[in-house]
């Protein structure tokens, strides 16, 4: 079924596909994921602390982002940002959009995790004289991060696959590169299966990293 020519094509294209995976797809997902986690912690903290006005702004942000497709957000940024004087290259723009998009979802994950920390933890913190931010930093954030970690990591794995949408704003990532190679050879299916396997490989590695991460974060002696 796989003739010699197809085999040759698969072998010669593999490094090219992998290169764009390692140079574009993974960095895009990982950088956006890290930034989105920082954003999510801020947005979740504002809500957890019930900061007036800011809290409403955060709710609005989450409402808009979760209620519109990522693809539309990418397009709006691509055509809209230059209008307000922001001329970023498409990769940077994609990082920004993925960060803002993922930030909204992760903020909800983090908020739920913060609310799941028993109230007594906060009260005990007050009683030893800590202020809200100190308790956040030492008690609430570490505990809620531990709770949220698997969900956050799931989001990262989703994002690795969603990066192909960045092609819509001219970012040449792994899938677009595969499409180009396929277009030159008129041999689509084998190459798409090949790129699927590379995505699968990335996600398998990330799942492994997640397992290790959960071990490292530990469960404070609960399972020993």
């Amino acid at each position: 079924m796989i003739n010699e020519k197809t085999m040759e094509l698969l072998i010669s294209s593999f490094p090219k596909i992998l290169e764009f995976g390692l140079k574009v797809t993974l960095p895009l997902a990982v950088i956006a994921f890290i930034l989105s986690t920082v954003l999510a912690v801020l947005v979740a903290t504002v809500q957890f602390a019930e900061v007036p006005v800011l809290k409403q702004i955060c709710r609005f942000y989450i409402w808009v982002i979760r209620g519109t497709p990522l693809l539309v957000q990418l397009m709006v940024a691509f055509y809209g940002l230059p209008l307000i004087g922001i001329h970023a290259n498409p990769f940077v723009m994609a990082v920004i959009v993925f960060t803002i998009n993922e930030g909204a979802y992760s903020a909800e994950t983090m908020r739920a995790a913060m609310e799941a920390v028993p109230a007594g933890q906060l009260e005990a913190g007050y009683c030893v004289g800590m202020n809200f931010m100190q308790i956040m930093w030492h008690i609430i954030l570490p505990q809620s991060f531990r709770t949220a970690f698997p969900s956050l990591f799931n989001a990262l794995i989703s994002m690795v696959k969603d990066t192909s949408l960045a092609s819509s704003i001219t970012v040449v990532e792994m899938f677009t590169r595969t499409k180009q190679i396929a277009g030159q050879s008129y041999n689509y299916l084998p190459l798409y299966i090949e790129v699927a396997i590379v995505y699968l490989l990335f996600c398998t590695v990330l799942t492994f990293v997640q397992k290790r991460g959960e071990k490292i974060l530990g469960s404070y002696g609960v399972r020993k």
């Binding site: 028993p118 007594g120 933890q121 009260e123 005990a124 913190g125 007050y126 009683c127 030893v128 004289g129 800590m130 202020n131 100190q134 030492h138 008690i139 570490p142 505990q143 531990r146 404070y220 002696g221 609960v222 020993k224």
Partner: protein, 246 residues
């Protein structure tokens, strides 16, 4: 010397009044036991004194100053909390911190004391409650009695003027209760000022300089130590003592 006084404390949850004008005076070195049936407002009283609940009415005299409870500023609340300790019924140890760090956190984070000095102080108070050997463990690895002793060490570490105990042994088995009461007994003998909400009548009899009996959001009767138990005046008190005698 008067250390703390509560005057006319009122607290409502929604429309039900849980505290209906409570007055309480605590002298330095006092061990005040608060008794009373479940739901009488004992926990709420302690929580209002430490601002975990906001009182609707009342004043707090603490040290030299008088604070109007519903309108105490954030800074005043913080400075009052830094001079008090609180021991909860369910311990509330920081789940993500080791025993040692449970005790040092109030020193390093809240008071900016150097880590080394904080650790020394923590080990000193942990030794006192017999938990120094468990410094590296997490709360989930300890028994309830051990957790409560760590919680007492955590409260002690910051050298508070007074420690509030809210039924510190009511979640514990009898033998674990004994080890916690032993630590509290020692503190009482050392002159630590404490307010203890408890159901342990014999403990209250033994260590209290003052006993307060509450019912339905009011102080029904108060008396001095053993005298309170021998000559209760109010019918409600007599009935409560009769029912709790076993």
């Amino acid at each position: 010397m008067k250390l703390l006084e509560i005057r006319n404390l009122h607290k409502k949850f929604d429309s039900t009044e849980v505290l209906k004008g409570v007055d309480l005076t605590v002298e330095k070195g006092d061990v005040v036991s608060i008794l009373g049936p479940s739901g009488s407002g004992k926990t709420t009283l302690l929580r209002c004194i430490n601002f975990l609940e906001k009182a609707d009415e009342g004043d707090l005299v603490f040290g030299e100053k008088t604070y109007h409870l519903p309108k105490t500023s954030r800074d005043d609340i913080s400075s009052i909390r830094k001079r008090t300790g609180f021991v909860f019924q369910n311990y509330n140890l920081f789940a993500n911190k080791t025993v040692l760090h449970n005790v040092t956190l109030g020193l390093t984070s809240a008071r900016h004391i150097h880590a080394k000095a904080a650790e020394e102080k923590a080990l000193e108070v942990l030794r006192k409650v017999g938990m120094a050997d468990f410094a590296g463990q997490y709360p989930s690895q300890l028994s309830g009695g051990q957790q409560q002793r760590v919680a007492i060490a955590r409260a002690l570490a910051t050298d508070p003027d007074i420690i509030f105990f809210d039924e510190p042994t009511s979640a514990l088995d009898p033998e674990l209760t004994a080890e916690v009461l032993e630590v509290m007994r020692e503190l009482a003998h050392e002159g630590m000022t404490m307010i203890v909400v408890t159901h342990e009548i014999s403990f209250a009899k033994e260590v209290s300089s003052k006993v307060v009996f509450m019912a339905e959001g009011k102080v029904v009767e108060e008396g001095h130590g053993a005298d309170f138990f021998e000559n209760p005046k109010e019918d409600r008190t007599k009935e409560f003592l009769r029912l709790t005698k076993n």
